[in-house]
Each structure stands twice: as structure tokens, then as C-alpha cells.
């Protein structure tokens, strides 16, 4: 099916699914298609294959969008009426920039950036990468430079982690309970200290016993250094959520035709629908086509291959027939899996992308996927 109408006029397209199903390829191909139709599109990718990054004109990690050469898109057979921009997410850089923006003072900023805990873990902490993807999405939409932003969601334990990321990050930054305990000198701290005093000194001493005083101090210093930034993060998280729940957004669920990703896709779809996110369509990637019915006569095939120059026509015919058999098994399996998704999700809008010999890492290959998704 053609996803063009489903996505027409949307400002945000979120592409989600299990790891390894080809989310990045689908995101890039979709963005290419929307740009070809005349829109100014940015695609936010996470860890693309190097050759794909190169094809999109991204040299290394670059948090800033770069424009894909329209001539290159034309060479790949796409008439580019709009603009395609691509960027690769750099979680650490985004986190640093965020701290820089929301820190109440240059001193506070430097304190955070220099904190040992921050430096060790800002790449991995509390879903930082997931949060940064959402954060960068919001920035790009806010800037209004682009008519549409396509977001390739990060690989996560759970494909929906990134939706909860703003909230988790908010809770983390807030770190109220511990700050109250560890900063009794502040006004809020004094009140909190009083209120919590009974059990809390015990809790604190237990924590200290386990972690050693210094780690506890480092963590508390880390949390305290975020003081005054919480409101900024919280407002951001709320704005992102509003955007993602709005009519301006559309979610696509990508899956491969194997039982695990399909099960995950079904879960994802239900979860998104339940939480009222505008989930629009399923994309089944890398579907092996079923070969046409009818097996050739082995003897005739062997004769044809011998005539074509085979040393051992019968042997080669046997190998060819085995390959045909394999292609049928795989084609039937994929066909059944697609049918299973249709049945389970009550016939959702669904696009399939045929398995290509190689994952598309050049614009020409990407354009083939684009044609399946947007112009088919």
C-alpha cells in the first residue's frame, strides 16, 4: 500500500519496532519518499550502517542535519521536488547541550559537565539515548525548519522505552527524596529533613554502609547540581508527549516476517493504541516473495543446464531444485506471518517491503524501498 496519504501533512513520523527489523532503512526510505513528493523533511537516525550514512551525506556523528545532495537522489531515480536532510543522533552531545541550556548558571553547568558520575554514565544513564532521541525530535519540530521530521527510534530493551524516557528522565533529574536527605541545609531540605527524619537517617546510614560515603556524596552532588533544571526538563517532557499524542504525529510499526518481531509488533501496536498514540500503519520489511507455482521436470532441467554448458547437469539441476524448495518454504512462511499480523490486528493499514539481496545502503537501493512504501 501507499503510505503517502496516511502521512500527508503530518509533522512527525515515529518509526518503531524490535531491534534488527530495519527501522533505519524504513525511516530513511520514507523520508526520501516524502521529500521526493515535495516536502522539506529531516530524518533522525540512530546508528545507521556506515554506507547508508555516507549515502545520506552524513560524515560521522553529526548532531546537525545535513542536506542530501538532490543530484544524488536524481541519479538514484527519484525526482526530488522537496528537500531531504539527515542527522545522526549523538546522545552525549545532546545531553551536554541540554545541560548547557537549562543550567541556571555557567558554574552549575561546569559542575555537571565535570561531575564524575555524569561523565561516566551520561551515555547510558536512565535511558539517556532514548530520551535524547525524543528531545532532539522536539528541538527539530520547534525550530520549524522542516515540514516533517521522521524519527528512527533507538534500539532498546523495550521498543516503547523511548516514550517513557522523558518521564523517567524527569524523575531522575528530580531525585527529590535523596536530595531532601542529603541537602538539609537548603530550605526545602530542612523541611524535608524534619518530615522524613525518623526513618531517613537509618536509610542514609544503610546506604552509606553499602556504597561507601564517597559514592553517595558523588551521586548526591550530581543530583544537586541539577537543581533548578527540573522545571525545564519537565516542561520539555510534557511538550513532547503532547506533540506525540497529537494529530500532527503518526507512528509506524516496523517488523520483519519472523515470529519474535511479529509478536513484538503486535504488542507495540496494542500498547500505542491503548495509550492513544496515533499509530497509523504496519510495515513488514524483508518479505520473501513466493515463487510462482509449478516445479520443473528434473530431467528436462538437467538437460537444459547441460545444453547451457554444465559439466554435470543433473547435479546442478538438483541444487537448483533445492534452492527453489527453500525459496518456497521461506516465501510461504513470510506470507503466513504477514497474514497473521493482518488477522491479529484486524486488518490494519499494512505495507510490505520485499527482501532485497542486500540491505539497501545506497540511495538507489533505498529508492527501491521508497517506491514500495510511498508510491506503490
Amino acid at each position: 500500500m501507499n503510505l503517502g496519504p496516511v502521512l500527508a501533512g503530518r509533522r512527525v513520523v515515529v518509526v518503531c519496532g524490535a531491534g534488527g527489523v530495519g527501522k533505519t532503512t524504513v525511516s530513511a526510505a520514507l523520508a526520501l519518499g516524502l521529500a521526493a513528493e515535495g516536502r522539506r523533511v529531516a530524518v533522525v537516525t540512530i546508528d545507521p550502517a556506515r554506507r547508508l550514512a555516507t549515502a545520506l551525506g552524513m560524515a560521522g556523528l553529526s548532531d546537525e542535519p545535513r542536506r542530501v545532495d538532490p543530484a544524488a537522489a536524481r541519479d538514484a531515480g527519484l525526482d526530488m521536488r522537496g528537500e531531504l536532510w539527515a542527522l545522526q543522533l549523538d546522545p552525549k552531545a545532546t545531553f551536554d547541550r541540554l545541560v548547557t541550556r537549562y543550567a541556571p548558571s555557567p558554574e552549575a553547568r561546569d559542575r555537571i559537565l565535570a561531575n564524575r558520575i555524569y561523565r561516566h554514565f551520561s551515555g547510558t544513564v536512565a535511558g539517556a539515548q532514548e530520551y535524547m532521541a525524543v528531545e532532539r525530535l522536539h528541538e527539530l519540530v520547534d525550530e520549524e525548519r522542516f515540514e516533517c521530521v521522521v524519527l528512527d527510534t533507538p534500539p532498546a530493551q523495550n521498543a516503547l522505552d523511548f516514550l517513557d524516557a522523558p518521564e523517567r528522565m524527569g524523575r531522575f533529574i528530580e531525585g527529590k527524596g535523596l536530595r531532601l536527605l542529603l541537602a538539609p541545609q537548603t530550605k526545602a531540605g530542612r523541611l524535608g529533613w524534619k518530615a522524613l527524619h525518623a526513618g531517613s537517617s537509618m536509610v542514609l546510614s544503610l546506604l552509606e554502609r553499602l556504597t561507601g560515603g564517597q559514592l553517595l556524596r558523588d551521586v548526591s552532588e550530581f543530583l544537586q547540581s541539577f537543581d533548578g533544571m527540573y522545571a525545564g526538563f519537565r516542561d520539555r517532557a510534557a511538550a513532547v508527549r503532547t506533540l506525540l499524542l497529537s494529530e500532527e504525529a503518526r507512528f509506524l510499526v516496523v517488523t520483519g516476517p519472523e515470529p519474535e518481531p511479529v509478536a513484538e509488533a503486535v504488542m507495540l501496536w496494542d500498547h500505542l493504541a491503548h495509550d492513544r498514540y496515533p499509530v497509523a500503519a504496519v510495515v513488514v520489511n524483508r518479505v520473501h516473495p513466493l515463487p510462482p507455482e509449478g516445479d520443473p521436470d528434473p530431467a528436462a532441467l538437467a538437460a537444459a543446464l547441460t545444453a547451457a554448458g554444465a559439466g554435470d547437469g543433473a547435479h546442478l539441476a538438483g541444487a537448483a531444485l533445492e534452492s527453489l524448495q527453500d525459496a518456497r518454504t521461506v516465501g510461504r512462511r513470510d506470507h503466513d506471518d504477514v497474514a497473521e499480523i493482518r488477522r491479529t490486528l484486524d486488518d490494519p493499514p499494512l505495507a510490505t517491503v520485499p527482501a532485497l539481496p542486500d540491505d539497501p545502503v545506497e540511495l538507489a537501493g533505498l529508492a527501491r524501498v521508497t517506491r514500495e512504501l510511498v508510491t506503490a
Binding site: 531491534g19 534488527g20 527489523v21 550502517a49 556506515r50 564524575r116 561516566h120 554514565f121 547510558t124 544513564v125 539515548q129 534500539p155 532498546a156 530493551q157 524523575r171 531525585g175 527529590k176 527524596g177 535523596l178 536530595r179 536527605l181 522524613l196 526513618g199 531517613s200 537509618m202 536509610v203 544503610l206 546506604l207 554502609r209 553499602l210 556504597t211 561507601g212 560515603g213 559514592l215 543530583l223 520483519g256 519474535e260 515463487p291 510462482p292 516445479d295 537444459a304 543446464l305 545444453a307 547451457a308 554448458g309 554444465a310 546442478l316 541444487a319 537448483a320 533445492e322 534452492s323 527453489l324 527453500d326 525459496a327 518454504t329 512462511r333 539481496p357 542486500d358 540491505d359 545502503v361
Partner: protein, 321 residues
Amino acid sequence: MTGPPLLDRRLCFVLGKGGVGKSTVAAALGLLGARAGRRTLLVEVAARRRLSRLFAGAAIGADRPTELAPGLFGLSIEAERAMEEYLDMQLKVRPLVDLLVKSRAFHSFAAAAPGLPELVTLGKIWELATHVEDGRPVWDVLVVDLPATGHGIALLEVAGRVHELAASGPIREQSAKIAEVVGHPAATGIAVVARPEELAVTEATEAVAALREKGLPAAVAVMNGVCARRFTPEDVPVLEAALAATPDGAAATAVRAALAHAHRERREQGQSAQLAEGVDLPVVELPELITARMDLDGVGILAGALGASPAVAPAGTRVAG
């Protein structure tokens, strides 16, 4: 870095990009360990439930190991539960543990102390690997199905990081002990899994480089899902000529399938060479199984293929592949 065969190390971790078949490879390694007579524990983290599905729905428990096959047990580790067990062990007084677990301050600390869930998870794995009863280790081998590459490496390196961060206290000592075991090639081996696809090969190569840099013992690379070797390069022009002579009908369909397979074989050989060169480790190739579904029989076939590799099979148990 060299070391004993993978399954002669007490701790085997299975790492790889999402979708390459990590859980299947982990299950096959576990089965191979059990077949070789080792008491083997297959561990999944973060409740992924994939192993349960492979073993015909046997519910892998979080509280005690579940027997999946003769000599093979499964256990699921969840960070929250591991945290309580850790506190139990440390504080030894249940009311204190309850006090801590119920306090808001503790949850703030747990959420803010980066890497804590990873540390208690790895700590639990370490504890299982070093657990001794009646003078002998309870498990000969643990096979751990890690989360996808980035998260998996974060888990493996967490003990070393926490050791650097904590200046004193039991956490510092414990993380040092864990880091020592996880970093020692006689005790620990990491199998990095790829598929014959560009992205998976690149990610495996980068993962091995990252492991080396962090001093973590990458032991073997596994190329999963390799297609059957059926055609020689000389077959290709013959098939093309046959297709040109008869471009329609059932014969052409078979010849097209043959050509597609032949091209895939050649591409995969290139990717295997790239992997071998990139990781500089023994590479074990596992066949693609053309069945409707991966099941226990399939896992058994892969276990056999792994058992043919001297880099994997326990000493003295290698079977002809």
C-alpha cells in the same frame, strides 16, 4: 587474547546486534554444554522470554532454575529482584532490607546511581558462577544471553566502572571482585554473534574492538544463518545462459532461485571474510535452518555445529561436525 575453549570457561556471554539470533545461539551453547556433561545454567536478563519460547514454552523462572533439558537449567534475572537479594545478603536483617526498599530515598538513589541495575544483575551472575556447595561449584558453565550490543557491553563493563567510581565501601570491593572474574579469559568468554549482513558484521567488529579496549575477553565470533554451499562460481554463467535460453516457465523459476542462492553464497563468503579479518578471532559458522520455525530440534542442530569448533567445545568432547 587467547584462552581455553569457550565452554571450558565458567562464564560465557553472548553478545550481538538485535535480530542476529543471540538467544538461539545462547540456547545452542547451553545445550552443547549440557550434552558435554557440564552442569549448565542458561541465563536471560531483563525478562526477554525468548529462551522460554525456544524451549517449548518451559517457563524460565526468576526464583529458581528451571530444568529445560537433561543437565540444562534456565534462570531469568530481573534487576529489581536481584537488588533485594543483594541487600538481603549485605544487611542480613530482613527488616532493614524492607526499610530500605520501602524508602523513597533508596529509590531515588537507585534511579540516580547510574549503572546500579546493571551492577546488581552482573553481581547476581557472578554470584551464581562462583557459588560453591559441598566443596564444588554448583554450575560448571553459565551461558548468558545479553541484551543488544550497546546495552550488553554496558552490562559487562559496569563492574569496572563502579570500581573506579566508588572510593571505598563494600561496593568497591565487590565490584573489583566481579570485574576481575568478568575480565579474566580463563574464567570468562564472550561470543559475539553476527549475521551475514553488512550492518551486523560491522557492529560485531566494532563490538569486539570495544571489548578489547575495555579488557573484556572476546573469545569467539559466530556467524549465524549462513546459507548452504551449493554452487561454484563456474555454475553462475551456466545458469545465466540457461535462463537466457528459456526465460519463462517452471525451469526458469528454478534457475532464478538457483542464481539468487549462488549470488547470496558469494556475498556471504565476502561477509565471512570481512568478519574474520575484522574481529581477529576464531569464527564459527552456523547454518541457516530452512524450517517454518526455530524449535528445539533446530537448536540441537546448531549445538552440533558449535560443538565441531575447537574454540567452543569443552576440551575432549569435540564431535565431528
